[in-house]
Symmetry: C2
Subunit: 282 residues, 2 copies
Amino acid sequence: MAKRADMAPFTAHLDAVQRRANSALCVGLDIDPRRMPAGIPPDAEGLRRFVQGIVEATADVVCAYKPNLGFFEALGEDGFALLRDTLDCIPASVITIADGKRGDIGSSAERYAAAVFEVFDFDAITINPYQGSDSIEPYIADPARGGFVLCKTSNPGSADYQDLHCIFEGNEMPLYEVVARKTREMAARGNVGLVVGATYPDELARVRALAPELPILIPGVGTQGGDAAESIRMGSAENGMRAVVNVGRQVLYASSGDDWQDAARREATALRDSMRLALAVE
Amino acid sequence: MAKRADMAPFTAHLDAVQRRANSALCVGLDIDPRRMPAGIPPDAEGLRRFVQGIVEATADVVCAYKPNLGFFEALGEDGFALLRDTLDCIPASVITIADGKRGDIGSSAERYAAAVFEVFDFDAITINPYQGSDSIEPYIADPARGGFVLCKTSNPGSADYQDLHCIFEGNEMPLYEVVARKTREMAARGNVGLVVGATYPDELARVRALAPELPILIPGVGTQGGDAAESIRMGSAENGMRAVVNVGRQVLYASSGDDWQDAARREATALRDSMRLALAVE
């Protein structure tokens, strides 16, 4: 972790990146060989060209990229090399988030953290809180690396547990609120955020109220039905930043023709601009 | 997944393996280069020899092996090859459990499942339930592959969320009980189990009562303080099986000298026998 030892805490770094890019857009790199556009073969070399093409077309429009590790792992050995190549082609000025929903207890969590921050040098990771604070701690030990803790996720099944009413410190509240409150207590080093789905704008507003200064990663815009403009309005902190709005398929697979790079750029730019406008008119 | 298409559902397969081996012992393969015994260099070739040596020394004493994916991922490219070699040297008569605590929503969960079941051909996986039933479903779509859902984990921090009292169907109960109840509803295909830490014997007994027929994976014996004999008594189903008691470091690193293979076998055999005895005298 030496490389980033003298870096600012993650949240300050995110602020600087968002200010410079004037963008809250994160592109989710869910690379699926079954969805390659015209002219891109679904083999290792094709996928590499596709990722590089997407990054080239969008790097100056985004604040972050979020590779979903599952899509890379499913490719086996090729996926490992592809993830390395993906990180290599992302400019240092853009945040990289390992979307792995990792968890596990102390010694094992340390190994997952080593994989993401040392083997791959990601800036941040997504973390599943179910195993409790001591399972989250190994991921956020280095202030320069960020941890986004799952709070209220974008899928319908998030209601099963996250919406259950719990007794916490004498009050009744949904589990995701407990997660927001407890996660905020772990944020003193300035490198902890939350994940709240764009598909639940009311819950997003509630979490923002409970954790006014934490970064919030907001997936679920586009294919899943969430709205980018609404997300940025509900999710931004007082400084107009710290909402990281993720869009995946809608950008990656904006065109299945050979204009896929132009289409991805057009889509990403439109999303960035709609979010700028949403904040400006507020 | 063609290879196992005509196989029995996972739980029936586990029963057959446990009956034949007359063992409830699972050895956790948390391969740590910093802990290699005398004569084993901490490089790729050394780690491969170590894993093969452990499997050779213990395969007829166990019902399962559980590689923790974090330990392999932390090794980068070498870890990928090591995991492949590890699975290759485990006899087909022994269950393999990918301990990855995976989760994520539909399309991403499908990719994680493909990595574990298609790229690596594991028999089972550990799953984090926080994102809800639709995030668990992709892992258990194939009845021949098992999913162990985290319920009450072995670490102290498991109290943070898993012990929170929730309102579920009009009653108040800890979150881990809700997980046990809802997971049981997903077990109709005969391939779903739970994870309960040996460090919480009362909770283990409670989960066994709530889910009488589900397999329970029980980590936390040994270094973490759980007791193997107590675990098997509290965790076994009525048929005297379906408790899978995991021991990692206590077996792997039983000796730091060049007798590490003998020491691992001795430790594993003693654990297996203490569990046989605990069931026999019950």
